[in-house]
Symmetry: C2
Subunit: 673 residues, 2 copies
């Protein structure tokens, strides 16, 4: 149907959708940067979704039982900013829209969690939104099972583009969602046949309908510019038969732009003043830049209030709960650290210091989880098909699957990236502290979502075992050498590499207490002795680095080490002491936290004078600031570690061949003295 006919056929809808289109064109033009084509193409779908189906209340953006709306095609950010503005989200003023993509505005280039209320998760890196939404839908299903439909009864709506569907992470996501039968997850595919390079047919011939059905999805198709047809499809999509739903919305990118509509020319560039003028004419939108007529504004504001009654009814139900249930619910959705955590951790530490077990830190992590999981109902664990290696599944967790929503353990399958994104969604939704495992080396596969954990400040926990050449025979494809450097270079990421059960417990305590920072626990495959044999209530790992073994006299040498190499440092120190060289051992379980300490503490741990040698079975890059001093204070220093990839052999042999032993350490210290 030609545009004019559509306009005349449904003028009420048309004017609402035109407001989105006009704001999107204008904001991108003002910024001289952005993607107008997608909001223009999906304005009709978004209007019907927000106008009739999405459960939300603009006056209460963080209402727990709202539907979640996720713009996976994050480059079309003006779509969501327009919707938030028009429906009356307080923060999203016209001024913010005018300052799209400018310094200090909440209208970031791509939607960023924490900038504007109503943005549920950061999107932009393609595929992340759809994969994160799986976590949102898991969280909803699980909270519903735990607290009942009275408290939790909502849907997760996603707008995704061809880019999202081409990214590999989308396959991990849709396979997982289909398997888990997340029937309240609805993906609206902006099926416009255009990518940045041109037509989708340049690079893809996938039958997406068939592909989603192969993963157990229900599929629907609608004309994405026909409000009635969209309404029909979304109504059908809301029926939950256990299958997640794909709605293929056939749209024209840049709809209404005579010169650029339907082409990649409108994907990532402003239309230009002339084309905007012509497009306004086509829309019969006779209003100034950024101007929304009062009647249309009023109707959009009404839409923003659609959910108010439902929200009030929900609040009344919460209020009517028995106090203990109400408190339990409030505690779960608060995101605050659970007061049961500290005593559980203290007990693990006390016992370990007394019994000094010799176990791998992955096993230590399991011991911690065995103490923590029973008292923290908010944890939800999992592994990317390495459960028996990561040791992430403790007794009585139960398996979260299509049949058992009460379960607290997820078999994520061989899907590291999808797992990480799902964990982000679980945490963002509220009610959960997710953790999930794989080998440290496969951080590579999960990187895209792990970076978003850090950027968003989502406190998920990555349980990364087999953290060095110490895994032995599997060889260099599985042996991380650069990954600790990569993680430490990433802002807002705590990289813990604990040396024994006590430090592992302390790392878990920190990881489960923060609400702003994701944690990576780098854990050994091989057994390690308990080195913290004297119980201290204080969490020493929170200091980032501390004196583990003091020298017998004023130290001539300081050995720094993490994880499995702390044992080597302790042995080397003993040998040096035997040779009359007073040597201090500093354990460095978390460089980031040490960096945050004050100068006095850092100088106390690492005084000037003694030679410094660091030991870590990985590359040196992140160590230089500790070895050499942040501002170049003179140090004599060296490093015991890796300079290249590992090899396939038993771990002991590898440590010897690569020169990561007490003897090598002693020799390097002596060479510096």
């Amino acid at each position: 149907m030609p545009l004019t006919e559509r306009r005349l056929a449904d003028p009420d809808h048309w004017s609402l959708a035109s407001a989105i289109r006009a704001l999107s064109m204008d904001a991108v033009e003002a910024a001289n940067s952005g993607h107008p084509g997608m909001p223009m193409g999906m304005a009709d779908v978004a209007t019907v979704l927000w106008g009739k189906h999405l459960k939300f209340d603009a006056s209460a953006p963080n209402w727990f039982d709202r539907d979640r709306f996720i713009l996976s095609a994050g480059h079309g950010s003006m779509l969501i900013y327009s919707l938030l503005h028009l429906t009356g989200f307080e923060q999203m003023t016209l001024d913010q829209i005018r300052n799209f993509r400018q310094w200090g505005a909440i209208t970031a280039g791509h939607p960023e969690y924490g900038h504007a209320e109503g943005v549920e998760t950061t999107t932009g890196p393609l595929g992340q939104g759809i994969a994160t939404s799986v976590g949102f839908a898991m969280a909803e299903a699980k909270m519903r099972a735990e607290f009942g439909e009275e408290l939790c009864d909502h849907r997760t709506w996603v707008i995704a583009g061809d880019g999202c569907l081409m990214e590999g992470i989308s396959q991990e996501a849709i396979a997982l969602a289909g398997h888990l039968r997340l029937g309240r997850l609805i993906v609206l595919w902006d099926d416009n046949g255009i990518t940045i390079d041109g037509k989708v047919s340049l690079s893809d011939s996938t039958d997406q309908i068939k592909r989603f059905e192969a993963s157990g999805w229900r599929t629907l198709i609608c004309d994405g510019h026909d409000a009635a047809d969209i309404d029909r499809a979304l109504t059908a999509a809301r029926e939950d038969d256990g299958r997640p739903v794909l709605v293929a919305c056939r749209t024209t990118i840049g709809y209404g732009s005579a010169k650029k509509g339907g082409t990649s020319g409108v994907h990532g560039s402003p239309l230009g003043a002339d084309e905007i003028k012509a497009t306004r004419l086509a829309y019969a939108w006779d209003h100034a830049d950024f101007d929304i007529p009062d009647d249309i504004r009023a109707r959009w504001l009404q839409i923003g209030q659609r959910g108010a009654a439902a929200r009030e009814a929900w609040a009344a139900r919460v209020d009517a709960l028995p106090a203990d249930q109400r408190d339990a619910f409030a505690a779960r959705v608060s995101g605050e650290a659970n007061p049961a955590l500290a005593p559980a951790i203290a007990e693990v530490k006390r016992k370990a210091s007394a019994e000094t077990p010799k176990v791998a830190t992955r096993k230590a992590s399991e011991m911690v989880l065995a103490a923590v999981n029973p008292v923290l109902p908010e944890t939800i664990g999992g592994s990317a098909d390495l459960t028996g290696s990561n040791l992430t599944k403790t007794a009585d967790l139960g398996v979260f699957d299509a049949q058992n929503r009460a379960g607290r353990y997820v078999y994520y399958g061989i899907r590291e990236h999808g797992m990480a994104a799902a964990m982000n969604g679980l945490a963002l939704h509220g009610g959960f502290r997710p953790y999930g495992g794989t080998f440290l080396c496969f951080t590579d596969y999960a990187r895209g979502a792990m970076r978003l954990s850090a950027l968003m400040g989502v406190p998920v926990v990555y349980v990364m075992t087999h953290d060095s050449i110490g895994l032995g025979e599997d060889g260099p494809t599985h042996q991380p050498v650069e990954h600790l450097a990569m993680l430490r270079a990433t802002p807002n990421t705590w990289t813990f590499r604990p040396c024994d059960v006590v430090e592992t417990a302390e790392a878990w305590e920190l990881a489960l207490s923060t609400d702003t920072t994701p944690s990576v626990l780098a854990l050994s495959r091989q057994n390690l002795p308990t080195l913290r044999t004297e119980h201290r209530d204080e969490n020493l790992t929170a200091r980032g680095a501390y004196v583990l073994r003091e020298a017998s006299a004023a130290p001539q040498a300081i050995l720094l080490a993490t994880g499995s190499e702390v044992e080597i440092a302790v042995k080397a120190a003993a040998a040096l002491e035997a040779d009359g060289i007073p040597t201090r051992v500093v354990s460095v379980p978390c460089m980031e936290l040490f960096r945050d300490q004050d100068d006095a503490y850092r100088a106390e741990v690492l005084p000037e004078g003694p030679v410094r040698v660091a030991i870590e079975a990985a590359v040196r890059q992140p160590w230089d600031w500790l070895l050499l001093g942040e501002r170049g204070h003179w140090q004599r220093a060296d490093f015991v570690g890796m300079t290249g990839f590992g090899a396939s052999a038993p771990a002991d042999r590898l440590y010897k061949e690569f020169g990561i032993t007490p003897e090598d350490t002693v020799a390097k210290v002596k060479a510096l003295l």
Copy 2:
């Protein structure tokens, strides 16, 4: 059919397959490490494939026109080692098999390219094999188009497991392969229903047949323990109708192990002496550990010679070519640097130094490619849907697609990981120097395959544009800050960040000359002045770092910078000189290459004494060794760069807000003096 019936029904096949199974059990047992279940399960399929279908000649492992065999399920490495040993690959002695997974052996834990001939690519990280195989099949199709079936006429066979198919990268791979109609790519899926965590049904419900068909694949099913049925399926698979082929081989993992067969218990652990004994009985394999009876050995060796005649005929056809065609073919498959490269680069440098254009380094890269592509037929370019941003497509390249195999540009789609793996395959196959582009930030998505480029030493070129906050309004989801650190921490990776056209040309020259190291070109979105205004034939970038601007007198300060920040360094130096502070500017286009220089050169560029300030719009981590000295020589030093994620705003504003300006640099220098 029960195992015994199968054994009696086809004793010849049975004994061949049993040899694989026995060697695999014995080697894993001896190593006390490895994955016996997969080789035991796929032994029948492998026997039929190598025995009747795979084109190869064990006496000439590197014969160009051999079929490529890729064990994507790399954990089952004993399958390929057994096959190489049994068919008579000279390197793969019984001693190597006995030393499976031991120090110095070529029988690495997972198959590693460069260790044993016959291993075409490194596998182990799941999904890499199947994705790399797409590059192999692209290379075959393209070489066939260029040189004719007489010289290039082979298939790519892949064995993949459930893990490979669950990884997101597999979707990128199969969608690309289906779109490109790579009809000679055949994937044998070890459909055994088991992963490490247990049954596939714990984590996946995908209809793989339907999924592959949705991507344009032909699908076949066979009983993976019935030699005749396997033969039927492989025969059918060899017909090339334009669709790549999936053969679902229904198998039992650990076939023949009464206690562990068909379970995850046999996936990643030795069977144990008792179970091996029982399984030998079931196989009626009455031979000692590692013992292969002479008659069976003889039959396997015959299989190894199956392709000898075909190879000789091929060699005769090559010999019969006109000299110029023969030379052209030899040059293409040699992998050596093209002698036409140096003059083309020299011309770009000379012109740039004379004309001093102010262009982005991504544009500079396009200028280099425009000069290089016409004279280097081995380059094959592409982008993950950012062609107009990466500027990777030069005139007259033509598009490589299903219709046009002569094209030299690939629209990879929004598939960074699949693109990187395909590039690895293109390079490994021989005949090509692939390059491909995306934004530097999306290195995250391609990491898994980029690490394998480095581990294998494959000289692919990653064209990573929009390399800092300098990309501006797209915001932190697109602004790399930790990625340069990550790349520099990765062994055997050249990370180039050139500052102008001349350095960009030099970086390309190095990247296209090496045959051992992948390169990453980090390129600016924003325009930069030409700073190398005096032509030098010498490739200064090969030094890694060099004096770009000398101080007016003995330097009191040295400014180090890369890429877009070199301009800031030059301006800051001018300001410092104006204030009477003699200042040297050192450009550092490639830290790795500077590290490789001798001490004398490094001391010449970075003498002790002057203060040092480095400038890079990224995190400081990789700079400390340069700022502070590798062994802690005293320096007064500081850093101008990023400490967190970026923001959405125009680039100039961001540089100012984050304090990356000449003024900030001057202030930091003065504070140190």
